[in-house]
Assembly symmetry: C2
């Protein structure tokens, strides 16, 4: 029994798909972290289904046969709960947040704004951040790679400056921690050691504040435990 | 009184922000179309607040003073309803769909899947499509622009192939038209004359099916009417 599957969790109706192996740089950043974090904030137990294996990559095969039936774009994570099979981390976190107190405000307007931050994280802030990694991975050997890097970084800088201005000296994007912050923190964490986040001390502190939440720490440790177990086994 | 603001709409508590002017290639593609379409599907009247003016661009100034208070990233549209001020087209469409029948299934699992398609449209399918336009706009004069074009197109092709496989010969992504289809159709429409959509006849038919809905036609006509009025005035 893998260390990340506690006995209490094996009976949970909730199953989250995670990778059995990813390269070291991706550990702690795979998107099942968002779903684990949301479940930990609420205190919902879950099972983990590991897919792929040592030698796989987070960006390609191997995937289980028929995985595209569960996730039409071949991405992670997939969330199962009874007959429901759900994809897209934003939709999964929203599904969890809608059904359990703790991740969305009761007030209808505040709730709508929290959901707006979820979409902003996924569709406005994340794409230019993902582009930096994609360019390094897919165009790192091209003659234009070095010349494009400042262009890509400036696209991220524009979004970070806007987000920093909005956050100001507040702890969270709205009145208290919400699923919007959960999504935004996991998006910003992807900037890793690029130094871009550190250009805005309030955003760096915001991410640190999110990472310090006990639920995040448990989710992070659970994702890493999979890879540590895989390493010790390999 | 602009032609797009019918008397019946002026008393609506709902206000949608739209551009007073965009270059011809962007007409019919500005993101307030999504919100107009959702409101038309349900039959909710709305007011339009026009911002910017002739000579402005959809990608930069002019914006009204303090616009970032309403929309932290300076984008369009902004949605107002009483005291609620909401941004991100996905969040706005979801807010409307949650409160009125017609855009989300009643069944909880089917509803969660429809929302998953909304996130998939915005965060998985749209970014590589937007990248093609952004590259032309921001890197069109760079020596690498022509060489990168096939790379960018292949990123879109991967998503289209996956989406085409999932759609198959169905009319909509799930059992009936939902807000997920509304978002996906508006995302795919951005491929315009690139020819990429036509590589998958089922996707081209899917987009045509969405565009043929009377609610889409009314929304499209209402967005275009703003620019036609601006042209005749200028």
């Amino acid at each position: 029994m893998p260390a990340n599957e506690k006995p209490a969790n094996e009976k949970s109706p909730i199953e989250v798909t995670a990778f059995a192996w990813v390269p070291p740089f991706a550990r702690g950043f795979v998107r099942d972290l968002r779903v684990r974090w949301a479940l930990e904030e609420i205190g919902l137990p879950y099972r983990v289904r590991l897919i792929g294996g040592a030698g796989g990559t987070p960006f390609g095969p191997p995937r289980p046969e028929n995985y595209l039936v569960e996730q039409p774009f071949g991405q992670l994570p997939v969330y199962k709960e009874g007959a429901l099979c759900l994809f897209e981390s934003g939709a999964i976190v929203l599904h969890i947040a809608e059904r359990h107190a703790g991740l969305l405000p009761d007030d209808a307007s505040a709730k709508a704004r929290a959901i707006a931050w979820m979409f902003a994280a996924k569709s406005t802030v994340e794409p230019p951040i993902v582009d930096i990694g994609a360019a390094a991975r897919e165009e790192g050997d091209k003659p234009w790679h070095e010349a494009r890097r400042p262009i890509l970084e400036d696209r991220v800088r524009e979004r970070l400056a806007q987000l920093s201005r909005r956050l100001g000296d507040a702890d969270w994007l709205d009145d208290g921690f919400t699923a919007g912050d959960l999504m935004m923190v996991t998006v910003l964490r992807r900037l890793g050691s690029s130094g871009l986040l550190q250009e805005h001390p309030n955003l760096a502190a915001y991410v640190a504040r999110g990472e310090a939440r006990p639920a995040h720490q448990r989710a992070f440790a659970a994702q890493l435990a999979v890879f540590n177990n895989a390493s010790s086994a390999g």
